[in-house]
């Protein structure tokens, strides 16, 4: 699970949970993989991201060093910012671990890089 995916995930599907965002990450295995850098793509993606959730996730997985806590005002032309965003969103991957609902504490397993967000019948 890359952090770009994590940024879109919520546990508000659980009965009684209203926000469910952002999900906490308990990492057990995190990998960093090289991914082609595509500044145009990133520049368009960043407005879709909840940046504070990006920062929190980066911290959870221990890769928040040097990550700007705010979106740079001129981010579309800010190569440094885009590269940092590229790394945190696309190159860091939680391979094993848990995602934790901030409201209910319900854990969703991440196994083999895939988060399993299925609920039990009574939870939905």
């Amino acid at each position: 699970m890359k952090l770009i995916t994590h940024n879109m995930l919520t546990s508000n599907i659980i009965k009684g949970v209203t926000k469910g965002y952002p999900l906490g990450i308990i990492p057990r295995k995190v990998e960093v993989k090289d991914v082609d850098y595509n500044p145009e793509f990133l520049a368009r993606m960043i407005p879709n991201m909840d940046w504070s959730a990006v920062c929190k996730a980066a911290k959870d997985v221990g890769h928040d060093e040097g990550l700007p806590q705010e979106i740079a005002p001129n981010f579309t032309e800010n190569d440094e910012f885009l590269k940092a965003a590229h790394r945190v969103l696309l190159e860091i991957e939680v391979v094993e671990g848990d995602l934790v609902c901030p409201e209910s504490g319900r854990k969703f397993p991440v196994s083999n890089g895939v988060p399993n967000m299925l609920l039990k019948e009574e939870e939905a």
Partner: protein, 764 residues
Amino acid sequence: MLDSFLQNDTVHLCNIKNMEALSDIKLGKTGKKLKKKQARLRHTLLKHDGIEIQDRPTNILCVNNAGLDTGMTRDEVFEVFCKYGETDDILMLPKKPYCFVCYKLVENAEEAYVHLNGYTIPATDTRKTSCTFYISFVSKVPESLSPSNKLPPGLILLHDIISKEYGQRLLDSINWKEPTIQAQQRELKHRRVKHYGYEFKYGINNVDPDDPLPEGIPTLCNDVIKQALQTGHVKFTPDQLTINQYEPGQGIPPHVDTPSAFEDGIMSLSLGSQVLMDFRHPDGQHLSVLLPPCSLLIMTGESRYIWSHGITPRKSDIIPAPGGGLTLAPRGLRTSFTFRKITGVKESQTLEGRDYKHTVLENDDAAAKLENVHVHQVYDNIADHFSGTRHSPWPRISEFLKQLPVGSLVADIGCGNGKYLGVNNQICMIGSDRSQNLVKICRERNYLAIISDILSIPLRTESFDVAICIAVIHHLSTKDRRLRALSELLRIVRPKGKVLVYVWAMEQELHQVKSKYLKEKHFDNTEPMLLSCDQQEVEKSSKSCNDLGEMARLQSQTEACSASIIEDKKCSVAGSPNIQAKHECTDIVESPNLNKLTICHDHSNKELTESSKKLNDQHIMVDHFDPCSSSSENGNASVAMEKIVAIDTKQTGPQIDLENGHTDSQSEEKMKWAKRLEVHVNRTQFKQQDILVPWQLKNKTQNNKDIKSEIGECKDASTFHRFYHVFKQGELEALCRELECCKVINSYYDQGNWAVMLEKVVAL
């Protein structure tokens, strides 16, 4: 005697080179072609029927192009071949292009070979083309013609359940001559029938529970019924009896006893002559079961609901000889007593008279269970296979994704193996699927993907530019759930965001051309095939569909949608007619010894895992016809078909959560659906909207020769039923219109699917 001539072939050695020389001289230039044809036949026979062609003459000839599939009749074959000697039998196999001619003497077979190999028989009134025979020697006939030791799952055969004397008394008690009322007795085309308790009305394929016959099941039958019930395999005391009488040469077409009319556990007592009963699974498995006199056959579970049974009209059966080997036994008069318990479900007065199976899912819980067994588990089981056999993206969907602005955020809900996730690398796509095995594949391909359920999509509200949902919603079994799915899709897209939904269309006959192809006879229904139809025909048919035609009648909604956009020049056609005439019901019988019986229901997890492991090596058939196949280069549309089977899929993993862990009830659960839902026959039109569609994993290693017992087992079962709700024209749009938060901005028909493009409207 068949066994005697099987031995003869070792005695009559003949130099094959001489044979070839003879043929060459006789056939001159065509010799080469002949050899080539024979080589091909050799290959086909071995591959499909396990029949090995002999290099030396034997008394059995396999004659290609003299089979039922080429339009040849037994009489025609006989006429040609009887000139060279006395024949013991001529075996014509359903759907095969070849037949077997069994001579008494090897010399006669050789003589026939020399004269008839390469011989062309002219066309007749009924057979429009001439046929050229290609002949080979074989030492035995296909196994499907001889009895199998294997039984279909759920089938129980009890030998000698009654004494001959009791059997005789039963036979004597039938008064064929003086039927009290006409309804009780009929001379059907191929057999004589008499009913007690309730009349089976062949016109409606059902009994009328409100119209019982004056005579119930004769009391003389009580003993046999009692004995049968004591075995524990039948839960219901029968209240309906059908007696069938077959003269030699008579039979009954393959059928499944009307599921809604009779309870599970159908018993059939055989009296008089032995007979081979053919059981066919929709996936092509064929088991011939020998029903000896005084035996009782009990069909339960899969063998009752999924396998068809029938008797091939023949005058003899190939049966095991007392001293081993096989022998040909002439058929005598056979009478079967079929005992059934009626369900009391009435035939509803619908157009087609068979909408009785409209799924009535009592509640959401039942719907979830159905989907768990017939959707989630199936996809998890077939994941590798599914993924390996498909799929290039459907062109129109790819096109849509490719034109999205750079950096668009797109959710693919029900992404399967992720075939759309890599279509455009300038956009960000996140896939989600219910099947963990399919998601695993996505991840191996380096796509972003999660496991989740469409009814609870764990994605942020109003955060995506686009959501696509391709071939997913038709797997939801109630309207409410389909509506909830649409509503979830709309929830995750931003205002003015788009949602593209594809579902399988009920109106596969939109391409009326297909019907024409459906009628074509020569396809081997075990292979995917190549078919094509030209533009003109497609246009023609689509036009007529737009007018009125078949579709108008189906349309319950008022607004017609902008359907019938057929861009492609070709259309694909679904599988070959694996048609199992679902006639009435009746006949059955068969049995192992009392102390041997059991029914096979469950497969252990282990077996399942093993079968999933095998998937990679298997050759497959694909699922519902696939628009992308129509773009193949040669202008043909490759078509795959699937076939059926319900196998018990106890499965571990998160999806069991939905089951509340009650895995024991799954096979029961499955049968429950099999009773209610029609299994779709490939290459036919949909008969109803809620159906089970088979997916077959064709297992090449299926010829499992070590047979453990006479118990019906189906370890190699490799077909799965997926639940589908196919959409009628206009239905998808109507569903969308029930949601306030969207407007339908486009709707169209795309290669057998209905599609809508929705736009999310801002709530006021």
